[in-house]
Symmetry: C2
Subunit: 392 residues, 2 copies
């Protein structure tokens, strides 16, 4: 059974935003006002719901009762975007009988196409009536080019009882978060003030969603919301907060991995571990560079142990290192030692690479304690096919 936190309800509907008849609008409602935090895209071009969600979090001082999300239209670079986002939140707020600033909006889909606000405002009363639907339906309703739904949960034992965190996410292309990514919603019944929630979410995101890339494109709509309604347990002790943050980080990492695995056209999840740099930031830079290299990603698709491309991508990452200290492994096989070819069995490694889970390590020998893990996927004809005709 997928664990769910106490005190949340879910509903979805088809509002006619998508062309195909799949639910495209959903709400997640906390029975009581929850502490809320968000992290958002760093893209300069920000969709209307991103701008509004930020304003709502500010106006409510980190309180929220509902998340309102639609798929099929990003409501970005649209003339009427701000009004549509606000009207949609108002409609949900009215049906729920709560202040509008306690509704956090999110949208995903095509950019630059006007979103017909009446579709969402029209659906709002029905959505609220339908509350009591399941978490899974919401996880499905937010998908766009994704092939599978993505969710993860965690439980933390506290003195006040076991608290649950349950999260969902979507995303398959335009994935290269630099502050957050795509959409992700995490609900917990733990009792945590908003002032604690925000830095926790920021740190957890930095080590999970910010270490994920599918195609190097940072979306205009990325956001992660974290709601904590305190339905279970008592205020967390400092030690419990640490455990909670650890669980949150792992949960987000799990969701990020699910995104990479379901990357547009992807056949493989690639995990890249960089270590031995002076700092964590340096390790992250190198890992990001390797993860973003189309040449590395196509080689992995082709089961090709082309470690020279990994070394080259590390070389242009903008981190100073001595190539003679570089060691690279693929699937545990040492392919590069001291910056040069190591002896390995080419055909055997080709065979090992022919699997959906790829593990690459890039290690600098020496004193450095910096390390970072990054997730990406392989790069295939499928990505091209999906994106050459996304709007048609």
């Amino acid at each position: 059974m997928f664990p769910l936190p106490t005190g949340y309800r879910y509903a979805t509907a088809y509002a006619g935003i998508r062309k195909d008849r799949r639910d495209d609008v959903a709400i997640i409602v906390s029975d009581s006002p929850a502490s809320a935090a968000g992290v958002f895209t760093t893209n300069l071009v920000q969709a209307a719901p991103v701008v509004l969600a930020k304003a709502h979090l500010k106006a409510s001082r980190g309180k929220a009762r509902a998340i309102l999300v639609n798929a099929g239209n990003a409501n970005c670079a649209t003339r009427t975007g701000a009004k549509v986002a606000l009207d949609s939140c108002k409609a949900v707020a009215k049906s729920l009988g709560i202040p509008v600033e306690q509704v956090l909006p999110a949208s995903t889909g095509v950019i630059g196409v006007e979103l017909d606000g009446s579709k969402i405002t029209g659906a709002a009363p029905g959505l609220v009536k339908a509350l009591g639907g399941d978490f899974e339906s919401v996880a499905k309703a937010i998908l766009t080019t994704d092939l599978v739904q993505k969710r993860a949960a965690a439980r933390v034992q506290t003195k006040g009882g076991i608290v649950t965190l349950s999260g969902m996410t979507k995303g398959s292309g335009m994935i290269h978060p630099l502050m957050a990514t795509t959409l992700a919603f995490v609900m917990t019944d733990a009792r945590i003030p908003a002032s604690d929630l925000k830095p926790m979410l920021r740190r957890a995101t930095a080590r999970s969603f910010n270490r994920l890339t599918v195609d190097g494109d940072t979306s205009t709509n990325d956001c992660i919301f974290l709601l904590a309604n305190g339905a279970t347990g008592s205020a967390l002790t400092p030690n419990e907060k640490e455990l909670f943050e650890e669980a949150l980080t792992k949960l987000l990492e799990d969701l990020a991995m699910q995104i990479a695995r379901d990357g547009e056209g992807a056949t493989k999840l690639v995990t890249i571990d960089v270590s031995g740099t002076r700092t964590e930031a340096e390790a992250e830079k190198i890992a990001r560079s390797i993860s973003n290299s189309p040449l590395v990603k196509t080689a992995i698709y082709g089961n090709d142990a082309n470690w020279g491309r990994i070394l080259a991508a590390a070389g242009y990452a903008g981190v100073k290192f001595d190539p003679a200290q570089a060691e690279i492994t693929m699937q545990g096989v040492l392919v590069c030692r001291g910056g040069l070819a190591a002896k390995f069995h080419e055909e055997e490694l080709k065979h090992l690479l022919n699997t959906p889970d790829i593990h690459i390590t890039f290690r600098l020998k020496g004193e450095g304690k910096g390390r970072a893990r990054f997730f990406t996927c392989d790069f295939t004809e499928g990505y091209i096919k999906i994106n050459a005709s996304y709007r048609s």
Copy 2:
């Protein structure tokens, strides 16, 4: 007739470095010591010939008699790389009877595979005997996954006579120069001291090869050599130098365009003009970001006027601007005005995009005088196919 500068000779041979039997080693020889300049990759991992060419230019104080180049092996991250590069230069120098530091080496091909030096040293005497071959054969011998040879020429009228510049280049993948790119050789019979040649080449490269991307991967072997042997004309006047540099910049831009058009798997050359930013550097940043976006590149492949992706890519370029000032055109058609959708005929534009030459402009309305042009290509299944199995 393709114009050639006076005083240079060419030769190619098959040295057995490539698997397929195509010439893979070549020399370009100036009859007299030429002023020489080079720009090189900014990748931290630098191939042995890059390191050696830099040392030779330094030791010779910018004098060169010959360029020695091989394709099929990058001689990068190889145990014996430095020795192989030096021995190769020595063999050519000996056969020509010139100092070794007047030979500039360059290699292109796979990374991390030992290059058998005896193949080149063995070929050297024959190469020198074969001098008198044609420019075109060298332009062909340096190709790897390229489909077509790439060359360009220019002529400049000076008081001392007409001087000629002729250049060749190669490159199709791992193209994302940040200081130089791939291989390019430009020979001229103009009389220019090395001290002038170097800054000229650096500036011209900054505005041509550094504004080209195929896949965002910066190679370990990039270099551009410029030789000026003074066989024609007298020392240039300041005004003539300007004309020369202008011709050089255009020639390199022409070569860069040829690379983009022949990008791995590419079906379209994409020219991106950004204007209205505060500075040229800002315009370049935005243009680079748009040019590198796989989502933009796949949309162009699919004849899809998905301008939202162009706006999004500009938004994460790291340049501050007001999206409400953004105007975007595709094939001359206004698709985005004030950061929002402009009215355009979707089917008509789809038709206009179905052509090998794509032109995109991104303009910020306002006072800014910054502008930059960038070249890239579309992103197709062909790129994936080529790179999934490059080494096999």
